[in-house]
């Protein structure tokens, strides 16, 4: 790649970095929301059982 490596590698690195970060944030957020949803659903069921 010669002198052009100075331009090529930062491009590829930025693509991999930004895509990885966005991918991780999205995946992590989805997992956290799923956990929260399951937990709240459980709480609601407990509440309903108490009422019965």
């Amino acid at each position: 790649m010669g002198d052009y490596a100075l331009y090529i590698w930062p491009c590829y690195s930025a693509v991999v970095l930004i895509m990885s970060v966005l991918g991780f944030i999205s995946w992590n957020s989805k997992n956290n929301d799923q956990k929260k949803f399951t937990e709240l659903n459980r709480q609601l069921q407990e509440l309903n059982n108490q009422d019965l």
Binding site: A14, D33, N48
Partner: protein, 245 residues
């Protein structure tokens, strides 16, 4: 009809949970093949040497920056016409992905511009309209953050998306309408692609990988937004139950 069938949030969640992992696996495979091919196997260009290898990330990022905005505008139009919350959430989920692709297109483009044009940036029609696209994404995301009422935010954001979509054909045809430093289209043009197959194939694989990445992240983000909506509903019901009890 099919659109309405999948527009049910519960059905969408169920189907997307099956599709997303496969999309992720295919994204990783195609991305590794495309980037490796582009970096190490594709031959040097006779004029630009190795510098042209930036196209394997720059072209897919630029194409996706416009595609994401087109998708966002389409989903916004569906949201306005049929008032379906999933359409608004789809548009909202696509915005950060589109903004990331636009930022990457600008960054990789400027790094390609330096050895080819002798400058990182120039107020050229193509570059400027792409920068405007980035600001449109920021504006769209800012609306969702600024307005508390979600249905009101969806309406305002949809208008921003629909007004801004005029910029997409401007970006695409800027190289034909004005004299620019940026090279004209080499893949989607009349008479077929003007790139040698040894360079075209890795480029097409990278474009496929970026598309699959978009689908994967979009599905994850929509799942997250649907769950957040359901969480808000559950919290309200729990609060009401506690107060009544």
């Amino acid at each position: 009809m099919l659109m309405h069938k999948f527009a049910n949030p519960a059905r969408f969640l169920r189907i997307s949970k099956i599709i997303a992992p496969w999309c992720f696996i295919l994204t990783m495979i195609s991305l590794v093949i495309g980037l490796y091919w582009g970096l190490f196997i594709a031959p040097d260009d006779y004029q630009m040497g190795s510098a042209y290898r930036i196209i394997f990330v720059h072209v897919p990022a630029s194409y996706m920056s416009m595609f994401c905005y087109g998708f966002m505008a389409f989903a916004s139009a569906v949201g306005i016409i049929w008032k379906h919350p999933l359409a608004d959430q789809s548009a909202r989920a696509a915005a950060p992905i589109g903004a990331a692709f636009t930022a990457l297109a600008l960054f990789t483009g400027s790094l390609w511009g330096k050895p080819m044009w002798g400058t990182y940036w120039i107020w050229d029609a193509r570059l400027t309209s792409e920068l405007v696209l980035l600001f449109l994404y920021f504006g769209y995301m800012a609306v969702w953050q600024a307005v508390d009422d979600q249905s009101k935010a969806a309406r305002i954001a949809a208008i921003v998306a629909l007004v801004g979509v005029i910029n997409v054909p401007i970006i695409k045809f800027s190289v034909d309408w004005w004299n620019t430093l940026h090279q004209p289209a080499s893949i989607i043009k009349s008479g077929g692609a003007s790139i040698h197959p040894d360079m075209l194939w890795p480029l097409l694989i990278c474009i496929l990988a970026f598309n699959l990445y978009f689908i994967t992240i979009l599905l994850w983000r929509i799942q997250s937004l649907i769950l957040q909506r359901q969480i808000r509903g559950l919290r309200l019901r729990i609060a009401e139950g506690t107060n009544n009890g």
